[in-house]
Amino acid sequence: MLDVQDVSVRFGGIVALDGLSFTIDEGQICGLIGPNGAGKTTMFNVISRIYDATSGRVSFHGKDLLAAQAHGIARLGIARTFQNLALFPTMTLLENVMVGAHSQGRGGFMKSTFRIGTAKAERDLRDEAGDLLRSLQLDHLAFRPASGLPFGTLKRLEIARALAARPTFLLMDEPASGLTHGEVDELSETIRRVRDDFKLSVMLVEHHMAMVMGISDKVVAMEFGRKIAEGRPAEVQNNERVIAAYLGTSA
């Protein structure tokens, strides 16, 4: 389904990704791990077309992703969350989720200006967004603006907003950061549930090892922009280079 081939990204002198290759199959949860600065977020940004790859290829269901534009990615079925939150702070939680469904909607400037024949779509969208908020236990905050809410709450809002695009492939960048232990377990549960209910493939960047290893079907480990291991969680966990990378740079 997702096929990343030999992707490199350079920022001036910095090599953020250095010939990275891996694949993800339909319905898989793939964990992407590595110390800070390994290039995980950069990989996400390449897939969502925020960064251009210096070289390499990325295909999604056989389509060349790098030929698409950033705003075309959602329509291909790819949605994501952001490591450092990229919400719409002045909008309510409900509106945030409704924007998440932008790629699913129709009605451009003309229809919006005259507001003819948009009422039903708006109502349905509102109901759907409400359902998503409820499924992430955010419905009681639906009419609050996003700014000023706790980090963990906003992380869940990011997931709800991403799901509103009805993706087939969901990228999550450190969804468990800032969550308590109990919340992390709940989040694992949510991700699995969401994967099954929405028939998703998931790519998950996370430092919380117990969570990644518990939930992933496969794990890709990175260091300095390169892949150092790929395989089942247990294999990667016991890989010497992975252990060295983690003991060496972060702990």
Binding site: A70, M91, H102, R115, R126, S135, F143
Partner: protein
């Protein structure tokens, strides 16, 4: 505790209908009883309000600044003046063509806006506003400058029962201004409350995230620029309809700054803000012009005349510090102590029940009570 009114409940509808009815009655009352000079003032205030509404769409909701909106007003005004006087166009056709021209020029200006942010965009639009009077002076000879829609060129249609006498004409122009202002307001309101409106605000709040959600940044930003420019053009057309003469100094950067001050005074990114702001700005300005003192101890040119604009500028700046969401934000805060409108609760029946394992107990009433 404030009284809660449910959104779209009968009392809420009643309040809305009442508000519209009161405003309509007020407009009718003014038309029937005000002096022509007062009507002229209100027409000017409406003209300013239309431009401020235009800027609100662009700056308030989409986060793109323009100090060049006076240029669009000027373009539409001169288009109307020229085409009606020299080509004998119907004045309403000249309005339509002016709006199209402004839309196209707006798109063109929106293109550099794609690459520029904040102060840089402000600079480019400022440059346009700066260059415009020079262009106007160069290409417009005396005859053209004197060409507006005055006199017989834009007459009240017979069905209105109005003649082209001075008092009747004032009533007619007043209604034209009111109707155009209402249309501008409705367009911006519709946009804001729709899919596109959410996209506009999303772009303002976080461009990257908006793009990831599927919002085409280039298209959205340039078209918004175009629509905003066209609405500003409608304001310029009203100016051409009211004045006897236009010249290169009719639409300078000072006009653009006036639009900005009116917008921030009333409250950017609120629907009523630019209108309230424009009216308050216009009438305070009008009052100060005749009542403000002249302070000779002030430096430079401001010591020469009444300190009206200096005072007004200071008032607006101080006000924006006290009430960052403008007059409308301030009024809303006060009203909220007495009445709150609780949003329509989320639908309880669930589309895909298998997804919902933890249905939260919190009812909509509880959630709004937390606000």
């Amino acid at each position: 505790m404030p009284t809660a009114i449910k959104e779209s409940s009968p009392p809420h509808w009643l309040a809305r209908i009442l508000a519209v009815a009161v405003l309509a009655a007020l407009a009718l009352y003014i038309a029937s009883s005000a002096k022509p000079s007062t009507l002229g003032n209100i027409t000017e205030a409406c003209t300013l309000a239309v431009a401020a509404v235009a800027l609100n769409l662009l700056l308030g909701f989409n986060g793109q600044i323009s100090i060049g909106h006076s240029t669009f007003a000027g373009l539409a005004a001169f288009t109307a003046g020229y085409s009606v006087n020299f080509w004998r166009w119907n004045p309403y056709v000249s309005l339509a063509v002016g709006l199209v021209l402004c839309f196209v020029l707006g798109l063109a200006l929106g293109l550099p806006a794609l690459r520029l942010k904040g102060p840089y965009l402000a600079l480019v639009t400022l440059a346009v506003a700066f260059v415009w009077p020079t262009i106007a002076a160069k290409f417009l000879d005396k005859k053209v400058k004197a060409s507006t829609l005055k006199g017989t060129k834009l007459q009240p249609p017979t069905w209105t029962g109005l003649t082209n006498s001075r008092p009747d004409r004032a009533v007619f122009l007043y209604w034209l201004a009111v109707v155009i202002l209402v249309l501008a307001y409705v367009i911006v309101r519709n946009l804001r409350k729709s899919r596109i409106g959410r996209a506009l605000v999303a772009v303002r709040d976080n461009e990257t995230a908006a793009a990831v959600m599927g919002v085409n940044l280039k298209f959205t930003k340039t078209v918004t620029f175009g629509i905003s420019a066209a609405i500003a053009g409608a304001s310029g057309w009203l100016t051409a309809a009211r004045l006897d003469r236009l010249d290169e100094n009719s639409f300078t950067i000072l006009n653009s700054i006036k639009y900005l001050l009116a917008l921030f005074l009333g409250g950017a990114a609120t629907l009523a803000g630019p209108i309230v702001g424009a009216f308050v700005y216009y009438f305070v300005d009008d009052y100060l012009k005749t009542h403000a003192p002249t302070w000779h101890w002030l430096p430079g040119p401001i010591s020469k005349g009444p300190v009206a604009s200096f005072l007004l500028g200071t008032i607006v700046i101080i006000f924006v510090f006290i009430a960052p969401f403008g007059l409308v934000g301030f009024i809303k805060d006060q009203v909220r102590r007495v009445f709150v409108v609780t949003p329509r609760p989320l639908k309880q029946a669930v589309a895909s029940p298998e997804l919902i394992e933890h249905t939260s107990d919190a009812t909509a009433a509880e959630s709004s009570a937390q606000d």
